[in-house]
Symmetry: C2
Subunit: 454 residues, 2 copies
Amino acid sequence: MTETVAIIGTGPVGSLAALGFAHKGYKVTLFDLRPDPRTTEDTKLRSINLAVSDRGISAMKYVDGKMAKRSLSEIIPMYGRMIHDLSGHQQSQKYGLHGEHINSIDRAKLNKSLVNEIELFNKNNSNEITFNFRCKFLNMHILKDEDCVQVEYLDKNSKRSYANFDFIIGADGCYSKVRSALMKYTRMDYQQVYIDMCYLELSIPAGPNSSFPLDANHLHIWPRKDFMLIALPNMGGSFTCTVFGPWKLMESLNTKEKIKSFFSTNFSDAVPLIGEDHIVETFLHNPRNALMHVTCSTYHNTDKCILIGDSAHSMVPFYGQGMNCGFEDIRVLLQMLEKNDGNRAVTFEEYSTTRHQNLVAILKLALDNFYEMSTKVQSPLFLLRKGVDNVLGRLFPSHWIPLYTMVSFRSDIPYSVCIGTENRQAKIVKYGSYSILLGITVALLKHFIQRAGK
Amino acid sequence: MTETVAIIGTGPVGSLAALGFAHKGYKVTLFDLRPDPRTTEDTKLRSINLAVSDRGISAMKYVDGKMAKRSLSEIIPMYGRMIHDLSGHQQSQKYGLHGEHINSIDRAKLNKSLVNEIELFNKNNSNEITFNFRCKFLNMHILKDEDCVQVEYLDKNSKRSYANFDFIIGADGCYSKVRSALMKYTRMDYQQVYIDMCYLELSIPAGPNSSFPLDANHLHIWPRKDFMLIALPNMGGSFTCTVFGPWKLMESLNTKEKIKSFFSTNFSDAVPLIGEDHIVETFLHNPRNALMHVTCSTYHNTDKCILIGDSAHSMVPFYGQGMNCGFEDIRVLLQMLEKNDGNRAVTFEEYSTTRHQNLVAILKLALDNFYEMSTKVQSPLFLLRKGVDNVLGRLFPSHWIPLYTMVSFRSDIPYSVCIGTENRQAKIVKYGSYSILLGITVALLKHFIQRAGK
């Protein structure tokens, strides 16, 4: 008998999960409190640009190669960071040793294209994926006697309704209602921490004839230690920019004069591109957005409920791994289910146990990477280390892999292994440097002793 | 104009808060999803016995001295711990140096008596406290234009209803819905951690003519390191017992034989008092209860909402301070409001800022005290330290105050100051011991040198 699953959330992670489970023969029903993303120009749809990289792409290909190709047709490769210093001078820092790249993609566009893929799936397959837009998930009830889980929701007409499924997947983001419901069934340790940092979005319009006013194939960074500006390219020549900074600083920018002076002092080369009026308008009228970090100690209850994506692990955006990690959740879960012959109880337990260390690892990497983006990218020691990685990575390509490469371009290496490997590599570099310094000292001493002896 | 407040939760903390705010002239409306505790023998009403001590009693007296006297008429003083060792031998360890005592009280009885006090208040005063039992709090909406907070709830007939208030107090326990609603308005760091420990309740029936089968004026402990049994006296001669132990151990006790053997090995003197059949029945059929630890980084939003009691700080029960701390929240809040001439915005901000360190302190003390109750009480070093405290506490009563005394009998000392003072005292004891050891060594050396010289 076909197993039925309710997926809560039709963001990128929920939509890909729907396709993934449908391809494996499950009967999928989607719920979302928002309207169909294709029928609305909802400005509240998070417009922050995403960087899709190997983990995300591999998961999409695992679900359906052709779908991946179609959905990723409008991406812009970014081969490195372009560092803008205070004087406006630009310096490119490549991400990979062999031309690897992450890819700028518009979150809303990707979301729409995944929803279109679901329609297409329905046309070509007998088992249909059902949409329930504008339906608010309220609660879930695990019914032991019926061996199923009941979804309680408000339907399109705000009428309280109920539907039964074999299991439910929570893909409803960092403020997940499924997670709250799951907590009543599972002793879940849970932590949410707001970091003292907020963000505001700006944009750089395209140049004449849809030309790019900055190099299109870089992620642009204006690193200023406590705060920074970044810009990611869009199809059509524009860039989406984000200013990140501590709340106190960002809230102090509340008059035209303060905003202008802050930008001309810190991001002088960006001001003419973004436009001073747009900057002032945005800072005066748009709310600052918080950044929250969420960790759970477990992600499931028996064979009835599991959390994926931001509902299970909301991370800060500084490693560009939020969605990639959510997509990887789906691949890992589906592969585990296959390995376990579809036994959900065993799979969910195994998933919670083995996936946890990798989620803890990427959450930590994401937190730490703000410091790398905003400060370290300009430090001589960082550049020296990058140089060492470059040399060793080319000499021993299968034995020496820089951390960024492992995280962004090697979906075969679990996040926790990335950290372990990097710790080992960092030690080697450290003791290597000591040895070189010692060698130089010995050589110099020898030289002086010989001179003195003459 | 009279200010209106909605208090969510009519447990002991919510009920006392209602009385406290009503006495100060606020118009109070109470909401609770449960029925009136006086009209029902709800077995789900948490029956765990409470130990009310100075902080709880002071807060009750601050609200209304006569009410405190009436509500605390049925308490049983406990002057110390009675330690039961494996052979059944009992040893009394006094709590205070001057006859201080904590007090055993039945949670359900205290709750009912506080609800009765509200009825009594209504009879004698013009401003009435309104009850809304069987009304489920759903959400709150802070309405900026109306400068009020809207409570969304299901009324007695499950009809969605709304009511506006000047502010709302969350006293709805460790799974607080008010806290969840508050999180949408406040960047609150939040953490919930389940400790690897669960509990089951048992009872010892009264002896002939309501006599107490164990000493009535002690909290009885059977400390067994990883697990323990405790017993608190009830009016009428019975005792309420609680077994605490790690989940794995407690779940492994799932057959008549295992349960019997576990109890006869570890609590042989308790078995005839509790009754073997009752023990077996309870372990076979009653669910084990989890122990959760909840911390928040802030407790309010502007002048519209504040959390008190378990909704703000759920602690494990090992210091007997959960309810005492919740009651103290009320006293601290009301005194702060008075000091600030009723300015809620200033008061709530001050409360969140200054109360936090004390809540963090008692949560930590409660966690640590399991180790003291289950293990340290039998250690010679612990008894030695208790002896030192005893001597110094009597010699310098205003300068040397044992930790337990500060926490349980001195509501004038904030929890965080208790920890600071104890750390200082522990250092003095440590260096004092070193000095004594050094003195003894020097004296011995002198003695031997003199003997050798003869």
